[in-house]
């Protein structure tokens, strides 16, 4: 029953997303929808760590940033075509996650949070300072989005469709991971690492694989980010970006598929739409953090679900 209800919910959501280009009055709104869904991929990737692995990271934007820089640099400075730039960016982003994983997985809980934060700051510092490679604070611009498989991504609707498709792929992959043996092991290491060890599992390796797959999907978000904004600068891998991704996950509901997407949409709307009408939107964003965490500690999606259940009963 609930399974059916949730499948129906997903189907409706997907149809709504697919209809968006025809409903929205202008490319501007479609652009905002695109931004939200791009960042939703980042939030989803972080949720592999948080929801399944129980590891809150404050350096997750690093993979987005590295991969976005890789796309921009190879496209702009080396003239690579997209089909070369994208795999390279994904590989580089994933490699970054491997290095981060080796360093950060020595600790748990707060220690883990602090290492990821420090590593993220190091990456930010490098992006800011390594001007030859990154253009420093000026960042790297790209002229145009590529044409992929005859699909001109410079058209807002086309790009939106691609982003939707990638988001859907991410959702399916995470759903599959969630129900796979690895997903089960990952949750096992989250809840009872000692027990998992006693059952013969390589806890470190399981966490590492979870960490790196989160990094991979973060890198996927980075590719989309680079093509979405056609610009990459240090702010793409800054602490606020990482913290925002964390907030999106917690806001929407960690460990759920819909949660991070909902969180990404809410935060994007506050930042882009609400900020046009409310001068003190920064305070509002802070209040959102506080209210959501205090009132719905499990996040919007589980919160609303249980509220609806309560109403029905």
């Amino acid at each position: 029953m609930t399974r059916f209800a949730s499948m129906r919910g997903w189907a409706l959501t997907l149809i709504a997303l697919a209809m968006l280009p025809f409903i929205l009055p202008s490319d501007y709104y479609l652009g905002i929808a695109t931004h939200a869904l791009v960042i939703a991929v980042l939030a989803l990737s972080l949720d592999i760590l948080i929801g399944q692995g129980g590891m809150s990271s404050l350096g997750h934007a690093a993979y987005l940033g590295v991969s976005a820089y890789a796309v921009a640099w190879t496209t702009r400075n080396a003239g690579w075509p997209a089909y070369a730039a994208i795999p390279f960016a994904l590989a580089l982003g994933t490699l970054t996650a491997c290095v981060f994983g080796v360093l950060a997985l020595r600790a748990r809980g707060l220690g883990f949070l602090m290492i990821t934060l420090a590593l993220g700051q190091v990456m930010w510092g490098a992006a800011y300072r390594w001007v030859d490679l990154t253009g420093g604070d000026n960042g790297i611009r790209m002229q145009a989005r590529p044409v992929l498989l005859g699909f001109d991504l410079n058209n807002a609707t086309n790009f939106y469709i691609i982003v939707c498709a990638v988001l859907l792929t991410t959702l399916i992959a995470i759903y599959k991971l969630d129900h796979s043996a690895l997903g089960a092991c990952l949750r096992g290491t989250r809840d009872q690492p000692r027990r998992m060890r006693m059952l013969g599992h390589d806890v470190w390796k399981i966490r590492f694989v979870g960490f790196v797959s989160a990094g991979f999907w973060g890198a996927v978000a980075g590719v989309l980010y680079a093509y979405d904004y056609l610009y990459v600068g240090p702010s793409a891998l800054s602490l606020p970006q990482s913290a925002e991704a964390l907030l999106m996950v917690v806001l929407g509901g960690a460990g759920t598929l819909a949660g991070p997407v909902a969180g990404a949409i809410v935060i994007t709307v506050i930042k882009t739409v609400v900020s046009s009408y409310v001068d003190r939107w920064y305070t509002l964003l802070g209040l959102t953090f506080i209210i959501v965490v205090s009132v719905m500690p499990k996040g919007l999606v589980p919160g609303i679900r249980s509220w609806m259940k309560g109403n029905r009963a």
């Binding site: 948080i50 809150s56 404050l58 360093l103 020595r106 600790a107 809980g109 707060l110 220690g111 949070l113 602090m114 290492i115 934060l117 420090a118 590593l119 700051q121 190091v122 930010w124 510092g125 490098a126 800011y128 300072r129 913290a243 964390l246 907030l247 917690v250 003190r280 920064y282 305070t283 964003l285 802070g286 209040l287 959102t288 953090f289 506080i290 965490v293 205090s294 500690p297």
Partner: protein
């Protein structure tokens, strides 16, 4: 030779300032396991409030204490209303304190505007002191002295008073503290007051060097983090040694390896976390 002497003095003076910044952060982190990301905001708020009080021609040291107390009171309110309910939920605490820091930053901007607000040092401490042929800012030496005095005071508080004994017990083992009848909630309020008080006080004392400006919070918070990670969580000697260590790394590091200035503090932090996650003086975190 002069380079080494003056950079050492710089390191020590900056270490003193960092100690005032991070002692409270470390206490709260150690006892309550709250990574208080609003600490930079509280420090900045202290600086702004201090500037306003100085504008009312309060004496400097009184302004520092009043600003500290006001920020401390705010800390107690935040702890009681928002953070206590989040006990044990680190992720929730991180996000709430981050939210608080956003609000503090935005309201400071609203109240004091965007231009930097200077804080005047006490008149007698303004002129440079001449030591063996070169000048060194008198106020910075005073800050170093004050930080050492504050460290001594805190040490006395922690080692010689009943409150201190309870705090230490709580840092070591919270369950144990509870089981021997310490009212942990009241203790937490006290610690949060103390931590926020130190942040506010530090903001005023650091004011003549740093001045109050938007972004001061974001500039200071990472420093507090680095100090605490290097020195060890919840350890007063750790915070003191960590502060001086960061002062030394920053001053000599940026002078000797200018290309690494942007990451000079985070690289040692990563190394420390990987090699000795508890920091120099810290005990294992659960």
């Amino acid at each position: 030779m002069q380079f080494w002497i003056i950079q050492t003095l710089n390191s020590l003076a900056m270490g003193g300032l960092l100690f005032l910044l991070s002692a409270g952060f470390s206490l709260i982190f150690g006892l309550m396991r709250i990574p208080n990301l609003a600490h930079g905001g509280l420090f900045m708020l202290g600086a702004y409030v201090g500037a306003t009080l100085l504008g009312q021609s309060l004496p400097f040291w009184l302004a520092a204490i009043v600003a500290g107390a006001l920020v401390g009171a705010l800390g107690v309110i935040l702890e009681g209303t928002l953070l206590r309910r989040m006990a044990g939920n680190e992720q929730g605490q991180v996000l709430i304190t981050l939210g608080i820091s956003f609000i503090i930053a935005d309201l400071c901007l609203l109240s004091w505007g965007g231009d930097p607000v200077p804080l005047a040092a006490p008149r007698g401490l303004r002129p440079p002191v001449f030591l063996a042929g070169f000048a060194f800012p008198g106020y910075r030496l005073a800050v170093l002295g004050f930080a050492l005095a504050a460290a001594l005071g805190l040490w006395m508080l922690l080692e010689r008073t009943r409150l201190g004994a309870m705090i230490r017990a709580g840092v070591d083992d919270r369950e144990m503290a509870r089981s021997v009848g310490i009212r942990v909630s009241r203790l937490f309020s006290a610690v949060f007051f103390l931590g926020a008080f130190l942040a506010g006080l530090g903001g005023v004392i650091g004011g003549p060097i740093l001045s109050a400006y938007p972004g001061l919070d974001a500039d200071m918070l990472p420093l507090a983090l680095v100090v605490v990670i290097l020195g060890g969580v919840g350890s007063l000697p750790g915070a003191l040694v960590g502060s001086f260590l960061v002062g030394i790394i920053y001053n000599f590091g940026t002078a000797l390896f200018p290309d690494f200035a942007y990451v000079i503090l985070f690289l040692p932090m990563v190394v420390m976390l990987v090699v000795k996650p508890t920091g120099l003086f810290g005990r294992a975190m659960r």
